[in-house]
């Protein structure tokens, strides 16, 4: 095409509309790949989980806590994922209890409180924390948090508690980064008006800044939840990987993600399909979060 263009302006203009059409298609396909991938992921996961759904039924699969796979005769096993769904929800819940205030607090610290140098350091620190691989955080949890918890509680140290702590660390960058962006978007004039009336910094923060940034702070928390629900390796390393429903934070259990990783290597037939069904459950949970974000922001455009 570039040779053609050097042949003269007239020719260039002449070919413009045709070449425009010719590049539009591949460019469109690149963008369309996003949609196509989501569709493909959904279809594949759904297709692979159908054997489990049809063999076991939705009730036994999604609403039973009995997970007793049978490796030699997969069809004879029980594959209820409720215990792991509960593990996912419990670890996410506790992680958010620690991570959300810490993350939003750090975001407020960065945007409103810290002097410039400290602000820069904290922001870079958060960026770096986001980049630390989950196996490293998992290894840190396994070699430090688990023995520490075992020491102070007398339990095995594995379970919901270390998993939630590890997750709290991992949701922190998501919440802080998005939260800081939201706080930054609050018009400076509002802050000025409040300060000029003799409001203290804290009064300005909780009466003006937080209400004005409420939407983005909620969205950052929801996306943090998404991170916690989907995190796999770090959780798998510290949760104990037991096949039981946990009633206390110090009992060993599994999450949906950690169960998939633990069992995928040896699973066949219905057993394997049941693991895909867990991925399907994760997919549905993630979709619920996206819809929740859409609902919170409604008309506003948000791209993650």
């Amino acid at each position: 095409m570039s040779k053609k263009e050097s042949n003269g302006k007239l020719r260039q203009i002449f070919s413009a509309s045709r070449s425009e059409f010719l590049v539009r298609i591949p460019l469109f396909l690149c963008a369309f790949l996003a949609f196509f991938s989501v569709l493909l992921i959904f279809l594949f996961i759904l297709k692979e989980s159908i054997p489990a759904i049809s063999c076991l039924g939705l009730r036994n699969l999604f609403f039973s806590t009995t997970w007793r796979p049978n490796v030699s005769n997969p069809r004879a096993g029980s594959y209820g994922m409720l215990a792991f769904l509960s593990g996912t929800l419990m670890t996410t819940f506790f992680a958010m209890i620690i991570g959300a205030p810490l993350g939003i607090g750090t975001a407020i610290f960065i945007d409103q409180v810290a002097p410039p140098k400290i602000r820069e350091i904290t922001r870079r620190g958060i960026e770096l924390l986001a980049g630390i691989p989950s196996v490293i955080i998992g290894w840190f949890g396994l070699t430090l948090l688990v023995p520490f918890l075992a020491h102070i509680t007398g339990s095995s140290g594995y379970g919901i508690a270390p998993a939630s702590l590890v997750l709290a660390i991992m949701v922190l960058p998501t919440i802080t980064t998005l939260g800081t962006e939201g706080l930054k978007a609050v018009p400076a004039e509002l802050k000025e008006a409040s300060v000029a009336m003799g409001a203290t910094r804290w009064q300005t923060i909780y009466k003006i800044i937080i209400p004005a940034a409420k939407e983005s702070l909620i969205v950052s928390t929801i996306l943090g939840m998404g991170r916690a629900i989907g995190e796999t390796m770090a959780v798998q390393m510290v949760i104990g990987n037991a096949r039981q429903l946990a009633f206390s934070p110090l009992e060993r259990t599994s999450t949906l993600t950690s169960r998939i990783v633990t069992d995928m290597g040896e699973a066949t037939s219905v057993f394997r399909s049941a693991l895909y069904a867990q991925a399907l459950a994760l997919l549905i949970l993630a979709m619920c979060l996206i819809l929740l974000v859409r609902f919170v922001t409604r008309s506003r455009e948000v791209t993650t």
Binding site: P115, P116, P187, E189, L190, K191, E192, A193, S194, V195, A196, M197, G198, A199, T200, Q203, K207, I208, P211, A212
Partner: protein, 258 residues
Amino acid sequence: MMEKKIAIDSLNMNYGSFRAIEDVTLDILSRHITALIGPSGCGKSTLIRCLNRMNDLIDGVRVEGRVLLDGDNIYEPTYDAITLRRRVGMVFQRPNPFPKSIYENVAYGPKLTGMRGKDELDYIVEESLKKAALWDEVKTNLRESGLNLSGGQQQRLCIARVIAVQPEVILFDEPCSAIDPVATQLIEDLMAELKKNYTIVIVTHNMQQAARISDYTAFMLVERQGEPGRMIEYGDTNAMFTNPKDERTERYITGRFG
């Protein structure tokens, strides 16, 4: 007879290594309107923001010299900026009501100091809106968002919000630059009324406005690019506009630069 409310004494202000204003000395008289005029970028807005320490919000700002409010230097380390800002209120260039109801906007200041009684708040809100000449227009919809008002009404809401804190001084930073002429007229009338009870300082780029409403005028100028803004002339408004002492002032008011 003439009571000094604020005395600015050899004030310099620096943003990092850049000096924005230099060696400004100026007395602001109680219950009068003092106008700061000058071309854009001359440091008049910077100067007015020194009077309630709004520049504290900006990183890297350093102030030298003194600003005395009723004889106390507000840049003394022990001086409390919060108290200062309650005594010296500010109305900004663009109307900036909070995204709250009209009522909550006006009640914001009193609530900051812990005022909770409904009757008390109702009274202050009504009085402040009346003083800001907005009451009649909004008394039936106090619960509506302040953002639904017109630009001029929003600016008067901001004035009411300041009045509610019961300040002694009100600073106006180009308050009419974002609103229409009719609304501007209303606000100018309002200032003439307010000066009976408050000391007023106004920054304006509009010389006619300064001439119409102020008692005293200060003219500031950056003579060469990169230099700090300096005070060129200060005096009685009528005298300055009819017979400026400094040639640079004359050139500015006759419209030959700026």
